[in-house]
Symmetry: D3
Subunit: 307 residues, 6 copies
């Protein structure tokens, strides 16, 4: 008996061919910015794994394994850190190769490897300082929120702290020449917390974001020490109405400067390269596109009374 | 020696019985809309898995496995696509059976199976076009954001693109008669990106959402080509104050029409079946419940100057 | 032949020592609130696992395994519940020990164990009632949203329901003396849905949150029955401008009371211990810091007409 | 700049084509016994999973989850059993379909489904008896081995028990018309323990195999009660030298009958349809191809003294 | 419409009840040796995991993670060892509790915990010596097998080494009062390699087993230094024909003593408390039940020439 | 309050130091054959994964995913093969580097990479022929065992086939200069089936091993076509008693030649470079150290009658 061939449920060859044609059109149409054969990009999964290890190495007793003791702490830290840094070298190499291909260059593989290694060495050297900075953020959250019961709870539960651990790592990568890795780290925090901080933003010690969903902080924002933000605050570029030509040049300082000890309440929007003077308080839902002197108290009411 | 029986830590039988009683009350009280015995619903986990495979098949070099090459691309695409489509047939069958049970019908299992297969065949045929549409979205993000360094980075990092890959798949499922699957896909994107697009929304080529957290786009919204949106923009139904009878009929066109090349800035709210004319710019936090002609520039100030 | 020792890629000993120094400084500087040796905190991963099991035990046919039947339902419920409760006892013990250490006390391990067990016993007893409450929420979402096709779809897809399953469990834990576990549960929902409900908030039956991203509900908020909320609604504390002394006492009732059948539209902000009277409607983006009587209809326009 | 296409590391298309040709030759050459399009076979992984669940359901306190209590035992047993039986129906269906295709038949899918369900129903009914049989095997191992400290240890550690749990399940499947599933179960035990018992072998209560590696028991072997075997014992077919025609008919009784309370020491080989009389003792490395009366004591020496 | 209740595919309640009855009979029939409520036994999975960690800690460069370096070795060793020892304390506690229950005793939980901890402390102290012993075994395999290309290959590939790593750990546990854990470790090796060494066997330095399948070494065997064994060698108890009363007392020395530098070829069987003198060679398939002086060369031929 | 430091449960630093000392002694004592810093060895886990993929690519319908169809077969084969070969290049590189380090050489990394790639290219080219060979083995098992019901069952269940799939791959790797990878593959089969075939053994078409546990086939054995073997057969080196100088030279032909259509029954041992003539039958437990002419029938009886 000859069995009939199984009937294909869909024209697989045909769909594969059409998808190939779509890819081919894309590649030929936009060769300059397009993708090229055989490339690898950094991996989101790999970076999430690295982040988990770095978090554990930075805060072994609170974000490391549950049954760690102080006498075994260093073994855990050393082993985990080493593992994270080795994995990071791989990801750094992928970003650096990607940049080279974008530029049409093809340096020796060993040169890229050396640069990746040096960059991760420099990154590793920033970790102790980064831990000390995050300690100030933890204390800021603990003292700033009357509901916080312990500093341990803050690290464990507060999305603002989760976002800052990500940001301070992302910013360090960004400054050392790995902006794409920084961006992937930032988006991991964005997805988990709803807080969107560009890895380029400079943020001082003792920073606290409460609730946090919907917060957006732009690439060239500069934030001083002991600043506090609530949910849905935007520190953005004033691209409208004055900046409507559409040819905005990258790299230009275009986001706000927020000086020390400023508080900005939920829903406030601050746009453009303006300066919020030291100790100012910006009320909820305020829309602000100009600088204010130190010690200002700005509310919707105060703004509307001017018109 | 006779060991004493271990003491139960909680009255398990009692709690199980009370939970059974609660289920029983629910089932008898609301028989019409309620659940019935032995049913299966589509699975969120299964759909997340299908989405990952479809993403890889659509963008093999960027969302597929890291070490793919162009000469092995088609094998990966064909194998992955086939796997995703087979899994989708199962999920489609579950939705179609669910609908039948809601209607009190009980058609032959083979009829449901055939319909599920035909629907997935139709879905498969839309994939090449869907990839071409997403290419326009990728280019829109790349050219629209001065910070974007490469089209690869856009696909890898931008939550707006993640949301659009989900939406264009969800919309295809929605149009082919699988709205529940579409909804599950949409909520997967909502959870990951904070962007909430109803699978019914019609969105033209070259769409770009920046930052994105808090964006809500309703079921009957119609969006033209090359439109740009920022975080916290709502394109909703004007159910208040004019629509307060509470008996809103499903299916009625009740969300905005946004014509080509419109830009809507962060926090703006557009409600009801109004039309935003081609090329208009809607400023941040604007609250708009009426149509505006092509080329309009609407800001909070311009609105308040009218009062 | 003697091989050269492999060259270390980074000064691992040095970085480990510096991180140790940073931890040591932190611990000595802030001994009172700081961390102490050998402690364990509750685990986010463990609680996510417990939540998945509790959700299945509460809604076996919709959130349990796909192929459950009514005749095997009780076996699944009993087995899953028992497993979840046992795991919860461990987490409760960790929170209770943590509190003891915060207070500088060191009670017998068995006393903590007994308390943890009793607390989980009490929690287990609340589950049937909790299921009945969630049934009212499911019905509220089904009847309140014309797009909802079935109650099954509501449980499967609506982020508002996901947030409420989490909240009603978190609130039960909070009331029984496990506020840290409650907080971890609440943050799991916050991360997944963008909806941030403090575990202390009291919420009546038939509650419905549509879309939900950006919703914030504070610790002492009291919400009546059949209330409906949209995305980006804040029920917060009025800490600005009247409450600027910075020494806000914990536990004080400081968030709104929302009476039965109130509707609050997207982006509205209600701050302080004010009362929204029964059946009121608060419009989109409204900023409200005073009480309103039953049946009020508040819009931006109505507020501005007063100035 | 146009990037060169990545060079393929191997001629993938060519190798795929050659493998296709090899498959095609195989299929055309041996159509009768060969494979046909679109078939599915039972899965070893699925059966290993089913075996783990059945083992837990049969011995909940010893092979089930570590923290089970007697008051929650039935929930675990019911839930696990139901899950295992449902999975077994799927595998049974695959075997039955496979047999139909071998026979060139194509019955209605529903007929196969019904038969699979009935077979698993019958299998389920044998489980309580099977547990009682295995209890006798456990006691036999405990009393037969002076080194055994507790019956729990026997179940946990003894490869002989592991092999018997598999065999008694495999034999039940074999008798109910699922010999392929039985074979897969038997091979799982063979791989784990080195004990190779054909699922067709009939084995009485209180059977004990010590050490076990290299034991082979053939399809038509019949073993009485309280029999004991050591490593490397073969109960095989006497195919040499008397049975050298090569056309051995399947199903013929061709393996030994071992009566009650026989002991067979390591390395002994018994071949053909011979009978080892009740209470006999067969010494190590003995080679036996004829029947022996009850109470015999056979050693290498006793055999050689005959020549 | 009222849907019919789904028909149960099998009488689940009935089967569960019958299995309960079987358990109940077992428990009442054999109370002395039987199982009692709420007990936990050590876990095979947990021990396999501990073994993997211990293997890595003992041989970090060869059985640890692939990319370890000498400068990060100690961090890995310390972290992995600590993790393995902590897990081992749990398993030790379970064995000690189990023994207490067998004896009908119920000591304070803390006493068991202290004993478990002390035992694991003693075990930890044996690890450096154990590594040095295994180094001699590795060298023995390397020099003894002309096919071995490097000592690394020996550790990676030779089942004999795998069995010895397990045995030396199992023997250490056995001597420290954890025979059940030792047995589980031994059976893990038995299943993986087919080599069955009782944890009580005493084995000197430089031991080598080639091929190994079917090797059995009994509890009271004593093996000197630099001994070599091949597959299917048994060092067993001479329970037949001289020892047929069936009341063999546990603990009696009943297995062979094998002096230094003995070689025993494949299939040889040595039974009883006999002594194989230093430097003897025992040929393949030899059956030996009496002592032989140092320097003996025993073959099948030499044995038969005696009769 | 100052909390006491947690008491370390074991002297971790001390044990780590002692283990370091043991490693240091090992490395200095045996520098020539010993391990050196920073090396990587091939990974057993990686090879098991590669084997699973190669098995699927060779037999897509029987060892590939359950729901494959003929029209999607090539996509699966191409994708899986490519993935397996890429992973194999990595493992080949590790073996080649290892050999270089053993020789004290340090060639350019790129030279090793090129050699690894070329070797895997050559290996890939052998796969279609290897599939055709395995088809003959499958048929041999099917026709040789009256109990076999279908060729599919043979591939799924027979340990002999599992061992041969491994061996034919291992032998191909061995011949191409990757003997360590070959050995790892062989040991994977040994552990799973108890069949120990050295990767160097040459085995003709249509080979069948029944039951298999305890089979050992040496490095220089040469086996003709259509040969059949049973459990516990050894084809070994005659190192005793004639070969007792201990300095056996590697590579010398020292294992049997078995000509076409020979059958060797269970437990037979053939040692040394002897030839078993075409069509001979070797009985169970026979011990043979000299050549026999074609057509011989050798039994224990026939051997003993000679003395």
């Amino acid at each position: 008996m000859t069995l009939p061939p199984a009937i294909p449920p869909w024209p697989l060859d045909h769909i594969v061919a059409e998808l190939r044609a779509a890819r081919s059109d894309w590649r030929s149409r936009d060769q300059r910015a397009g993708e090229s054969g055989g490339r690898e990009l950094p991996s989101r999964e790999a970076l999430r794994c690295i982040l988990r290890e770095l978090s554990g190495a930075l805060f072994p007793m609170r974000l490391g394994p549950a049954d760690l003791r102080q006498d075994s702490e260093d073994y855990y830290v050393g082993h985990t850190l080493d593992s994270a840094l080795k994995a990071l070298v791989q990801q750094a190499k992928l970003e650096l190769q990607h940049v080279q291909r974008q530029l049409g260059e093809s340096p020796a593989a060993s040169a890229v490897e050396t640069l990746a290694l040096q960059t991760v060495q420099a990154f590793a050297a920033t970790l102790p300082g980064l831990r000390r900075l995050l300690d100030t953020d933890t204390l800021a959250a603990f003292t700033g929120d009357p509901a916080a019961r312990s500093v341990d709870e803050v690290l464990l539960c507060y999305p603002g702290l989760t976002a800052l651990i990500h940001h301070r790592i992302a910013h360090s990568l960004y400054r050392l020449g790995l902006p794409l890795l920084g961006r992937i780290v930032a988006e991991a925090a964005h997805s988990e917390t709803g807080i969107d901080i560009h890895p380029g933003a400079q943020i001082g010690a003792g920073f606290f974001i409460d609730h946090g969903t919907g917060v957006v902080i732009g690439e060239t924002a500069v934030i001083g020490e002991r600043v506090r933000l609530y949910q849905n605050v935007t520190l953005g570029a004033k691209s409208f109405p004055t900046d409507d030509d559409g040819s905005l040049k990258k790299g230009l300082a275009r986001h706000p400067i927020v000086e020390d000890e400023v508080v900005i309440y939920a829903g406030a929007t601050v746009l453009g390269r303006v300066t919020i003077g030291r100790g100012s308080v910006i009320g909820g839902n305020v829309w602000l596109t100009n600088s204010v002197p130190p010690g200002s108290v700005i509310t919707q009411a105060s703004l509307q009374s001017n018109c």
